[in-house]
């Protein structure tokens, strides 16, 4: 196996160059800089040998033999790396707190948070599946820096493939003596086990996650005490996200100085985003901090498919917000996203086109959070429920004047008074959609119209007689026989029977010959 640089230098021109473009020149790949994803596509995650051959586990001996724990912490501080799980707390400072914390029992723990909860984000899954040893190597280095002897990877049970990969990686690393006692003959002991989540979004929150590892229901508790002082079983505990851990070997190997040369003033390094939704190129991208949304959506993502109009990007999942087209030149880093009312979150970027109803989207996120609230504190449990009721009324054409203000009032109390991060950020999707798309809310509330033609209560499906070829495909897919008409003649939708499932619209829209003969008004 050659190193990446060898491969590039050995390139020779192929006769087909004009037909076969270079990967690195393609829009999707051109602006990406792979760091956490440095081994993407190159290694078999089931073979530790491939990771080692590619230069893996090179940072570990350096951290074990050539650096003191303080020097490791300093290196991470110098790098400017911030937590990739969402809040963006400086990783080096977090490590320093855990390193300096005293443990009554002598134990300290490190945890890899792979409870990737944000719908629309899947970089943690992908990293664990594709490069589990990078995450493990980062954890061993962190454990050495903080003086921890035990670690946990807390991963969603919905990710069976990722669970298999990380479990296997741990076994192989143990066989090689890269985990366990006396690692590489250094006297340093560290063990890692996998804990599978039980299906609760709130367990991404640190105190809830720890409760879950301890075998209890994942209800957050107030902080202080912070996990760095009193975490798992009352011992100092450091929790970092998968992507954060995967960055560590690079920082140790190439230096914090080098790392801090990438990115913006306050946000260093690269960030992985999952670019999904109404965008041509969907996938995982890794770009330097500070790249604008325009570059991400249009240059890398290739813009919105089928000639639809770009409307907004949702960033940060249920805790994040919607960034409208007017802010498309926003450089993406922690600070700029926060200013726009969104958050970096774990890096989900969901592109919306004109067919997305922002009120429906807000209701979607609020219903999601209502189901995922642990129910412990009143503003989150009762407040989000009330928000969902109001938003449901609005999308089902029962909105009334004052609803928008009521949502804002609830949002204020939920944001200020909730116990944990879930509640404190829960109103963000509602607040940002009100902030940037207030006219859409007003249209729903005052005129009972859904401009994006999504809210079922306000739309009807009709056939355009001029475009209908009478192919009968919609007649066949209609589950309630609401569409009728003889072959080769324009069909008709019986509005009394129609349940607005959209099956006819779906099938007609993708039919190259007929075009959009079913439309929504």
């Amino acid at each position: 196996m050659k190193s990446p640089s060898d491969r590039t230098s050995s390139r020779k021109s192929l006769p087909e160059t004009d037909v076969c473009p270079e990967l690195a020149s393609l829009g999707f790949f051109k602006s990406q800089r792979l760091l956490a994803l440095r081994h993407r596509g190159l290694l078999n995650p089931e073979e530790i040998d491939e990771y080692i051959a590619l230069g893996g586990y090179a940072a570990l001996p350096k951290a074990l033999f050539d650096m003191t724990p303080e020097e490791i912490v300093d290196e991470v501080k110098t790098s400017g790396l911030r937590g990739r799980g969402g809040a963006g707390f400086p990783t080096g400072i977090k490590w320093e707190l855990a390193r300096n914390a005293e443990s009554k029992s002598g134990s300290k723990y490190v945890v890899c948070n792979a409870d990737e909860g944000d719908p629309g984000a899947f970089m943690d899954r992908s990293l664990l599946e594709a490069d589990p040893h990078a995450v493990l190597e980062g954890m061993v280095i962190g454990a050495r820096a903080m003086g921890a002897s035990e670690g946990f990877v807390y991963v969603r049970d919905e990710y069976p493939h990722a669970v298999r990969m990380i479990t296997r990686a741990i076994e192989q690393a143990e066989d090689y003596g890269l985990l366990g006692s006396d690692i590489l003959g250094s006297d340093f002991d560290f063990r890692v086990s996998v804990v599978r989540g039980g299906g609760a979004f709130v367990c991404g929150e640190e105190t809830a996650l720890m409760a879950s590892i301890e075998g209890r229901e994942g209800r957050p508790r107030p902080r202080p005490p912070y996990p760095s002082q009193s975490g798992l079983w009352g011992c100092p505990t450091n929790i970092n996200n998968v992507e954060t851990w995967a960055n560590i070997p690079c920082i140790v190997e190439r230096g914090g100085e080098w790392y801090s040369g990438i990115g913006t003033k306050e946000s260093k390094g690269t960030k992985i985003f999952s670019l999904v939704g109404k965008v041509v190129n969907t996938g995982l991208i890794e770009v330097p901090m500070g790249m604008t949304l325009r570059e991400i959506v249009f240059d890398i993502g290739g813009g919105v498919p089928r000639g639809r109009k770009f409307k907004a990007v949702q960033s940060g999942g249920p805790s994040g917000g919607c960034i409208p087209e007017s802010l498309i030149d926003l450089p993406v880093d922690y600070e700029e996203l926060a200013k726009a009312g969104a958050i970096m979150g774990s890096g989900g970027l969901i592109v919306m086109d004109e067919d997305t109803c922002m009120v429906d989207l807000a209701r979607y996120f609020v219903s999601f959070l209502e189901e995922e609230s642990c129910g412990k504190c009143v503003p989150c449990r009762e407040g989000i429920k009330r928000m969902r009721e109001i938003l449901t009324d609005i999308v089902e054409a029962r909105g009334k004047e004052g609803d928008i203000e009521r949502l804002e009032e609830l949002a204020y109390a939920i944001k200020e008074a909730s116990l944990c991060g879930l509640g404190k950020t829960a109103p963000n999707p509602v607040l940002t959609t009100i902030r940037y798309f207030r006219d859409e809310y007003e249209s729903h509330v005052l005129h009972k119209r859904c401009p994006a033609k999504v809210c079922k209560a306000m739309i009807v499906y009709r056939v355009v007689p001029e475009r209908c070829t009478g192919c009968q495909r919609c007649v066949q897919v209609c589950p309630v026989n609401a569409i009728s008409g003889p072959r080769s003649q324009p069909h008709n939708v019986d509005l009394d029977k129609c349940i607005k499932c959209g099956a006819c619209y779906e099938i007609c829209k993708f039919d190259a010959i007929a075009g959009d003969a079913i439309y929504i008004e």
């Binding site: 990737e116 909860g117 944000d118 719908p119 629309g120 984000a121 899947f122 943690d124 899954r125 992908s126 969603r156 049970d157 919905e158 990710y159 069976p160 804990v195 599978r196 989540g197 039980g198 299906g199 609760a200 979004f201 879950s212 590892i213 301890e214 075998g215 209890r216 229901e217 994942g218 209800r219 999952s274 999904v276 939704g277 109404k278 969907t282 996938g283 995982l284 949702q314 999942g317 989900g348 969901i350 919306m352 997305t356 989207l361 979607y364 996120f365 999601f368 189901e371 995922e372 642990c374 897919v477 589950p479 499932c501 959209g502 099956a503 779906e506 099938i507 993708f510």
Partner: protein, 293 residues
């Protein structure tokens, strides 16, 4: 037979016949002794679950006997049956280590209630009692599942902190969590049952209701939501004739919505067991389902 043995200490043939009849009728195995030495011999030679002492044993004070048995086997419940009851004796018997003191004339049903209660306290720990009760309540076939559950817990070193993992593995093996399974786990891991119940109802991946052979999970993550995931879910509901969270009558499919399966690049997505189906349309759903028997 319920697998539990009671040692009956009485010199009276009448009492012996009456109590043995009642106990055996309830499924207990009854052994008896008429003299103190015999009683202690029995105590030494077999595993007992409870001692029922009548105060008619010759030459022996029932209170002293209680103390001696209690000292030897502090966890063995002792119930004293008094032919001549008195409040003072009752108090003394309890002080000497008896679990209960009752009148010989007590109705059979009350006697059985007391014994059932005593057996739960056999190991003093209520958790253990719950574990025992789970063992007692299950039928023969279920004893096999108890073994299976035990072997799952063994894989987790019987560590109470591994509760979530234990329940996940039980659910994977048995498709859902029975009340008995939860009781058994609580007893074995030494976790109060209410905590086990809280955990089992808090996490959405657990089901306390029977589930189908295949689980159909429709992703309703954001990318799937904006790409028609709800339409896919509704189509599946119509196709299977059940709502999300329900199981088909033939127990072939359970349908559920999940918050995000992390396969957003292929939205809309649904998952059958561990098979991901991406970029699906309502039209192809029926043919996908056909692959699962």
């Amino acid at each position: 037979m319920n697998g539990l043995t009671i040692l009956l200490g009485t010199a009276s043939a009448e009492v012996k016949a009456k109590l043995s009849g009642v106990l055996q009728g309830e499924g207990y195995d009854v052994d008896s002794a008429g003299l103190a030495p015999d009683l202690f011999a029995r105590l030494g030679e077999r595993t007992l679950d409870l001692v029922l002492l009548s105060d008619d044993l010759a030459e022996t004070n029932v209170l002293d006997l209680t103390t001696r048995i209690h000292d030897l086997h502090p966890k063995l419940p002792i119930v004293v049956v008094a032919t001549e009851p008195s409040v003072r004796d009752a108090v003394e018997a309890i002080k000497h280590g008896a679990y209960y003191y009752l009148e010989a004339s007590i109705p059979d049903s009350d006697l059985l209630d007391v014994i059932a209660g005593a057996l739960e306290l056999e190991l003093e720990l209520i958790e253990e009692a719950e574990h025992r009760r789970a063992r007692r309540l299950v039928s023969f076939e279920d004893l096999e599942s108890i073994e299976a559950i035990d072997s799952i817990m063994r894989r987790h070193d019987f560590a109470s902190s591994r509760l979530v993992g234990v329940l996940q593995d039980i659910q994977k093996e048995m498709r859902y969590l029975t009340h008995d399974a939860l009781r058994h786990v609580a007893g074995r891991l030494g976790i109060p049952l209410p905590r086990v119940y809280s955990v089992a109802t808090f996490y959405k991946s657990f089901s306390l209701k029977p589930r189908g052979r295949h689980t159909v999970s429709v992703c309703l993550g954001t990318a799937c939501h904006v790409s028609g995931g709800v339409g896919i879910l509704e189509k599946l509901e119509r196709e299977l004739g059940i709502k999300a969270g329900e199981t088909t009558f033939d127990e072939r499919f359970s349908l559920e919505s999940v918050r995000c399966v992390g396969c957003c690049g292929l939205a809309p997505v649904f998952v059958v067991d561990e098979d991901f189906h991406g970029k699906v349309t309502q039209e192809e759903i029926a043919s996908i389902l056909e692959n699962y028997e």
